[in-house]
């Protein structure tokens, strides 16, 4: 029994000699966790809670057999996330709107961007395309 206890004690003492590697991991882990917390707190301070600010930009226009595909990037520069964003595209020749097309983007998170596309049936060229967000929901 006494021998056993002695051995246990020995084992215990051995374990208190914590390898440097474990402390290295602990340090890296601590930096990561504190970093995440700090990052969140930092954003809590700088975010002013501005409402969604949505800009729709044309990414590229692809010609298809039966019309055009207008790929777009929608960007939210506000501090709040917008849901169900209604993107509308107008195909204009001069002041006249020839065709409209639309799509709903599920979510555009704050300070982030999402991609989408709109189809138009018009085949002839020489037009202008105007894209804009019509509205959103809060998530």
């Amino acid at each position: 029994m006494a021998e056993n206890e002695k051995e246990n004690e020995k084992n215990d003492r051995k374990k208190t000699n914590i390898p440097a590697l474990e402390w290295f991991f602990a340090a890296v882990g601590l930096i990561l966790v504190v970093g995440v917390l700090g990052f969140l707190i930092y954003h809590a301070i700088i975010d002013k809670g501005t409402p969604p600010n949505l800009n729709v930009k044309i990414d590229s226009i692809v010609q298809r057999e039966n019309g055009f595909l207008v790929k777009f990037v929608i960007e939210n520069t506000g501090d709040e996330t917008a849901a169900d964003v209604n993107v509308e595209g107008e195909l204009k020749k001069g002041a006249e709107t020839i065709e409209t097309s639309g799509v709903t983007v599920d979510y555009v998170p704050s300070h982030s961007e999402k991609k989408g596309g709109l189809f138009f049936k018009e085949k002839s060229g020489g037009f202008e395309i105007e894209l804009h967000a019509k509205g959103y929901n809060t998530p």
């Binding site: 215990d12 882990g29 809590a44």
Partner: protein, 234 residues
């Protein structure tokens, strides 16, 4: 889909850790588990009508099964280690005269936490819900969630007297030392795994760093519980 390869490697290590058999055996076991997972997932997904051979391309079908199979394979491994544990452990105890051997390795502990985190977080990871929840939360919620995750993790494994608990915690090493070396490292691991999962399932595209961190924290909650519980289950 490319998730399966590192996972499979991990699984083989995991088995190697549970059962003290030699390495090629572990690799074979890993493949067996993945095969079992693949077949089971295929059958279940088909039964639930998720597989649509007419509309989906073969790529999509295989992809669906392959991802589901990863979770199923970990489940298969767990079952194996759970059911095989009693006999094995006794035997091992006789052999080495100590059952602690298996639990004392630091790297092994971390690996178990990683597997537990993956196992619990894999199920919600492909869904949209994790991201949606993160949209609804305020920064205060996030900070609270981080703290709660850490507290729960710590409580789970070190404070609550539980089966499989790390009972040989040396009295001399302070609570802070254990907290730093296990809980904090464990949570950091959980965050990295969450990031990996969220990235794998394409939730990071076009997202700002802030939103990615938030999604990671939300994902990290189930992952943290999985990591903490893994040391009790596995």
């Amino acid at each position: 889909m490319f998730l399966a390869i590192p996972l499979l490697t991990g699984l083989s290590y995991f088995i190697g850790f549970e059962e003290t058999s030699y390495f090629p055996d572990d690799v074979i076991d890993a493949f067996v588990a993945y095969t079992v997972g693949f077949v089971t997932s295929g059958v279940m997904l088909y039964l639930f009508g998720v597989l649509n051979f007419v509309e989906d391309s073969p790529d999509v079908t295989i992809g669906k099964i392959a991802i589901q199979a990863v979770i199923a394979a970990i489940g298969a491994m767990l079952a194996q280690s759970q059911l095989g544990a009693s006999g094995d452990e006794e035997e091992k105890e006789k052999e080495s005269g100590s059952k602690k051997k298996r639990r004392t390795k630091y790297g092994g502990e971390l690996f178990l936490m990683a597997v537990g985190a993956l196992f619990l977080a894999m199920s919600p990871a492909p869904t949209e819900e994790i991201i949606l929840i993160s949209y609804k939360m305020s920064v205060l919620h996030f900070i609270s969630l981080v703290l709660l995750s850490i507290i729960l993790m710590h409580a789970f494994v070190y404070k609550v007297e539980f089966r499989g608990q790390e009972s040989r915690k040396p009295a001399e090493s302070s609570a802070w030392s254990v907290f730093l070396r296990y809980t904090v490292v464990g949570y950091a691991l959980v965050l990295l795994i969450s990031l990996y999962l969220i990235w794998t399932f394409g939730h990071t595209e076009g997202m700002s760093a802030e939103n990615i961190v938030k999604a990671v924290v939300v994902m990290g909650f189930p992952a943290a519980l999985g990591a903490a519980a893994s040391r009790l289950i596995l």
